[in-house]
């Protein structure tokens, strides 16, 4: 899960903090900050990417338009999370923690809890995966689940293939092509995992995906604890 920075609330033309009449009005600003990716499963989406309320708006109407309660979510992650009350400290959050450290991505795009975490941390990471159903694989009877996994699987295949292309042609142009491919598909974490031994590519991905938290990675593109945060 890509760690992101939503930043300070956006300002209007006069330099005042924007007041959103309806939460949908915040969508363009959030898209500009974070790119058109689901904040949780990292899929790239166009118009169907919705605003996601970390604390459900049904339970916290006062947070409906609050900037730091908003992320971007695909329909699948959104509906999986539902409207249940959220205790923030029970989960890791992409805009608060270094969520890249919480999970590992492996062959075929399988997401699991990172074995490097402590027992408590693993529980928290496991709860986070379950909250969005990211621990689920394809189920023959559930078309949504199949599509969801297949897309991540495709990103993995494309990343592995791109890595092969770079071996054959390690030119800066080819590197840019790979970044463009990654941006078009989404799944930042998949690309970061497949290219984990290529410092230059890691830096490029961190730079290219809008809103990626820079303080979550060192100069070599390796994940480091997010300062002042749980992970």
């Amino acid at each position: 899960m890509r760690p992101v920075v939503t930043g300070e609330p956006p300002l209007d033309a006069e330099g005042c903090v924007k007041q959103f009449a309806k939460y949908q009005d915040a969508r363009p600003d959030l898209l500009e900050r974070l790119g058109d990716y689901c904040s949780y499963c990292e899929v790239q989406l166009d118009v169907s990417l919705a605003l996601e309320h970390v604390q459900p708006k049904s339970l916290h109407p006062e947070l409906e338009c609050a900037w730091d309660n908003l992320l971007l979510g695909c329909a699948k992650c959104n509906s999986h999370k539902g409207d249940d009350p959220i205790v923030l400290d029970d989960y890791y959050w992409p805009d608060r923690d270094n969520t890249f450290r919480a999970f590992t991505y492996s062959e075929g795009g399988i997401v699991s809890v990172s074995p490097e975490l402590s027992t408590d941390q693993r529980d928290r990471a496991r709860r986070t995966l379950a909250l969005f159903g990211l621990d689920e694989g394809p189920v023959a009877t559930d078309e949504g689940a199949i599509e969801r996994w297949r897309k991540r699987n495709r990103a993995w295949e494309a990343a592995v293939r791109s890595r092969g292309h770079l071996v054959a042609d390690p030119s800066p142009q080819m590197r840019e092509e790979v970044v463009a491919n990654a941006l078009g598909r989404g799944y930042f974490s998949v690309w970061m995992t497949v290219f984990r031994d290529d410092t230059d590519m890691l830096r490029r991905f961190i730079e290219a995906f809008p809103g990626t938290s820079h303080e979550c990675f060192d100069d070599d593109g390796q994940p480091v604890p997010r300062p002042g945060r749980a992970l």
């Binding site: 118009v47 169907s48 329909a75 492996s106 062959e107 075929g108 399988i110 694989g137 394809p138 189920v139 023959a140 009877t141 078309e143 199949i146 996994w149 297949r150 495709r154 295949e157 494309a158």
Partner: protein, 436 residues
């Protein structure tokens, strides 16, 4: 609404009370396209009829050429909701009161709401559309640069109006004649054909291009597709379509579907050009509200898929409110544009297949998925299970399952380039085509 354009007239919400089948119903509308779906009898046409009733007073004053006595719409006896309850074993049918149609709109960037009910003497709120209409007409008369909004209603009987009067031309008319018959729910070939002929002949005689005619022709060609010209053939004295391959065909020979489409587009276009002849491109620059019952009427699925986009592109400032039973129409919609009268869900449809739309949005269960999809789903499950085993998994089995999954996935894949690439790789690796 496009940037920098006045929000001249737009419907935001309709509230029905004791109207036809509705006890109380609120319907909100998005800015550009709205499509109502629902079972037969769920009230789709009732919503359009109510909207037409709400818009009537705006149009009525215009039809009287700006006379200051506006006509008022009334909810008629037949539109009032009936309930039957048994009384001592005898069913008694009772009309439910009050019956009301309330419109919330944006007019000249400001919110206006009004109400139509069954009373003979309209109250303050019912006078609003008349006042708005007068205001619109006043502004339009004072300055030609103020556009008049197009308003039109196309009902399911729109194809029955075959009273062609192609021989006639017409004299000069006022801008407000662009409202004539606009809520009669007929596409009215008889209105635009004489207009078209008149302008075509005038253009030939005067030797200069007439902007409104150019605009209307462009709209028709844009929606017909594969069409290189639309013109009045003077010798055969009829509207003629010239196709991209050079062949041509009289309008009356078109299929029902094409003719229906052309008549509707031309009718909207003709109205925009009549209302706003001063605009550079009246079709593209006129705002308004257009109601279409069963937008898919007689259209081949191929056409159903594009009609929403065609109308959206051709009339970018017009708000459309339509009904349909076709999943192909629903497929062309954006989030918030589908209004389901059976349930209140709003989601995204363009990536859904017609099967999904039929099943999920229209509530018709389709137990059988395609055989091939089932196979793909099973292969995905198997492959995933193997991947889960990590390093202990058999590499050959993994490669085999992956190739099988790739191949079965191909027909469902939107990533064509990538799947072609995979197929080449499968062939190169000697994995060949996987047997079904």
């Amino acid at each position: 609404m496009a940037e920098g354009k006045n929000d001249l007239l737009r419907m935001t919400k309709l509230t029905l009370q004791n109207f036809r089948c509705f006890e109380h119903k609120e319907v909100e509308f998005s800015e550009q396209f709205n499509v109502l779906v629902g079972d037969n009898g769920s009230g789709k046409t009732a919503v359009l009829d109510a909207l037409a009733m709400g818009l009537f007073s705006i149009v009525a004053i215009s039809e009287t050429n700006g006379q200051t006595v506006p006509l008022h719409a009334r909810v008629s006896e037949d539109d009032i909701r009936l309930i039957s309850r048994p009384s001592k074993g005898v069913p008694i049918v009772e009309r439910q009161h009050p019956a009301r149609v309330a419109c919330e709109t944006i007019v000249f960037d400001s919110p206006f709401s009004w109400m139509v009910d069954g009373s003979e003497t309209p109250d303050e709120r019912a006078r609003i559309p008349g006042i708005l209409a007068r205001d619109l007409m006043d502004r339009a008369q004072q300055s030609v640069s103020v556009p008049l909004p197009a308003i039109a209603y196309y009902g399911t009987d729109r194809l029955c109006d075959h009273s062609l009067q192609t021989d006639e031309t017409e004299g000069p008319t006022s801008r407000s004649s662009g409202y004539s018959g606009c809520l009669e729910a007929l596409a009215g070939e008889r209105r635009f054909l004489p207009w078209f002929k008149t302008l075509e002949l005038a253009q030939l005689q005067e030797g200069t291009e007439l902007t409104p005619l150019v605009s209307v022709k462009r709209a028709v060609m844009s929606c017909l597709g594969n069409c290189s010209n639309v013109f009045w053939h003077v010798r055969s004295n009829e509207l003629t379509i010239q196709w991209a391959d050079g062949s041509s065909m009289p309008y009356r020979m078109l299929s029902h579907g094409q003719r229906n489409m052309l008549a509707m587009v031309a009718d909207i276009a003709w109205r925009t050009a009549t209302l706003n002849p001063n605009l550079d491109d009246p079709v593209a620059e006129t705002p308004g509200i257009v109601l279409i019952d069963e937008i898919d009427l007689h259209l081949h699925p191929k056409w159903q898929r594009r009609v929403v986009d065609d109308l959206r592109r051709t009339f970018p400032l017009v708000q459309f409110i339509a009904t349909t039973h076709s999943p192909f129409i629903v497929q062309g919609l954006r989030p918030g544009e589908l209004i389901n009268l059976d349930q209140s869900v709003k989601s995204e449809y363009w990536k859904e297949s017609p099967e999904d739309i039929v099943e999920k949005e229209m509530g018709v269960p389709l137990p059988q998925r395609s055989e091939r999809y089932q196979q793909m789903a099973k292969a995905a499950e198997e492959y995933y299970r193997l991947l889960r085993q990590g390093k202990t998994a058999d590499e050959d089995e993994k490669a085999h399952l992956r190739a099988r999954l790739d191949e079965l996935t191909e027909p469902f894949d939107d990533d064509i380039a990538f799947s072609t690439f995979l197929r080449m790789e499968r062939l190169a690796a000697g994995l060949g085509e996987v047997s079904q």
